[in-house]
Symmetry: C2
Subunit: 335 residues, 2 copies
């Protein structure tokens, strides 16, 4: 089972991406197709001493710029590395695709190339660390303007993901809002509350901001605008608190030791919040396996993302989602 890697996208260039692919092949045994400019990629591959590993190269002549508009990229760059990677999935030559490139373009390309499950708004799901088991936040950026029934769809997709991927038989689903009672929230969220409550999900009601990291639910549903802000706020907060701590320390040996330890723990925390470390964020709701990574992903994160793509493809998650959705036409018709 092969996974296609957009080996040109990302802030760190092909070298980092190829190293991640080599680690995936070597440490996880995953077959990888590197997609991008052949000369560059074969040079990087030989540098890594990747001989004998199950890695092949598929040439793509174009590269989508990190700042390029997704629609422009989709329209004008039909031979871009990200496009060719998803074409391989569509053609059945790869079982999933991973990109650390321009995330808007990756999203648009995945939706266009693989197609959406009928009636569904694909959403980006990301696992975050909590005091207990990790929780899945869905959506963290694909849909900035949602209707209440889209939030219901996110809940259904999130629950299926957690059931299949984390082997949690009865995932608890919560709705991100500003108070515990169903009467709290904005119009969108209050309507979504009723839909989730009427569904057959294990719906546990609203989750407030202060409870996101407590791990009381397995799936946290929100729109992509709110989810993206929360995710980035969490990353940024860890960084800022470390800097604030540093400002408070002045020469005290124990304080410096404490600061060092706290800093390490924070970095660990930040890495855990950072979805790249968890192996990228799956795009759920498209007909195939698509993983979106941070632009700044290190080889380890790229390896993990390839591993997640492999596992999701092996689980046939996209097919299961599609089957589950087509059995539940009720949720698609809601307006």
């Amino acid at each position: 089972m092969k996974i296609a890697l957009d080996a040109m996208g990302g802030d760190k260039g092909p070298s980092t991406l190829v190293q991640g692919a080599v680690r995936a092949a070597r440490e996880l045994g995953t077959e990888v197709i590197l997609v991008g400019q052949e000369d560059i990629l074969s040079r990087e591959l030989s540098r890594c001493g990747a001989k004998g590993l199950p890695i092949s190269i598929k040439h793509a002549s174009q590269v989508v710029d990190m700042a390029e508009s997704p629609s422009d990229a989709l329209r004008r760059k039909k031979d871009s590395s990200v496009r060719v990677a998803f074409d391989l999935v569509k053609a059945g030559e790869a079982k999933g695709a991973v990109s650390a490139g321009n995330s808007g373009a990756t999203l648009a390309t995945a939706m266009f190339t693989l197609g959406r499950i009928k009636g569904i708004r694909p959403a980006i799901a990301t696992l975050v660390p909590t005091l207990k088991e990790p929780s899945l936040i869905i959506d963290v950026g694909a849909n900035v303007d949602c209707k209440p029934h889209h939030l219901l769809q996110f809940g259904i997709m999130g629950a299926l993901f957690v059931r299949e991927f984390l082997k949690n038989e009865n995932p608890r689903v919560g709705l991100l809002s500003i108070g515990e009672e169903g009467s709290k929230g904005n119009i969108q969220v209050k309507k979504a509350y009723d839909l989730l409550e009427a569904s057959n999900l294990n719906f546990c009601g609203n989750v407030e901001g202060r409870d996101v990291f407590k791990g009381e639910v397995d799936v946290i549903v929100c729109d992509g605008f709110v989810g993206n802000i929360c995710l980035k706020l969490s990353e940024g907060l860890a960084e800022s608190v470390i800097a604030m701590l540093r400002n408070e320390i002045e020469g005290n040996f124990l304080a410096i030791m404490g600061y060092g330890l706290a800093k390490k723990a924070f970095k660990r925390f930040k890495k855990r919040v950072d979805y790249a470390e968890y192996g990228g964020a799956p795009l759920l709701g498209v007909k195939g396996t698509a993983i979106i990574c941070h632009g700044s992903s290190e080889p380890k994160a790229v390896m993990n993302a390839i591993g997640v793509a492999h596992n999701l493809a092996a689980l046939n998650l996209a097919e299961k989602l599609q089957a589950s959705m087509s059995n539940r036409r009720d949720i698609l018709r809601i307006i």
Copy 2:
């Protein structure tokens, strides 16, 4: 200049609130009117040894429950402590009111009793610590469903607050969104971006979640749903990270020392994020001074809130806001 304190509201009861009032009178020299059940309050006052301090009592026979619906409270409890406190402001007997009671009811009572500045959506503003100077986040909970021009109004009110209260002549205003460019965000935020850019504010563009605590802007504009979630997420994250740190420590002496220091620094951080510690959150856009405190406010937070109410009243902030808004009828007509 007297400040009315709802001395019955809050999770901790009249004793804590009266202690806060006594500290405000003693340490800040502020005149306070305690509003609530006279027998209880005079007993608490004598317990505190408050003789000679400029504190008086105004009787109010009812108390709004922490879980009561704001509209019920407003309709049925016309002699509640929070209502009588705001009535005192309306009547000119106090220059501002402070409540740590049911915040929805406080909000509704302040808006009903004092009245809104014409055409304006009142918003709750709160100062948060950053790597540099504190930033003001507005709105953190008064308006869960906003139009783009409401976000512009929040920007204008926030900038005026920072100019007057923090003596910052040219506050930088940012819009909370999911990318730096004006083209990033949901429909509401993209339209608000254009309005803010066309205004005479010192608008610095979008602020992403990861930059909230960096202090690059002085005012961060968002709707009350997003703002409330961000504020609570920040509080909860500090708590959860401390608990995660604890889980990682196993008997290592230095690690325990480090943990102790990190924990202290965190508690400090949490207090700084907690708006009660900053002296409560002002409700901007009503015709008078109203301060909303956390239900769990300690005496120090109550004292600080009374101090902030006094300072805002002395600055005539509400009057200045009203004058500034009536000079700018353009912003009220936008749809």
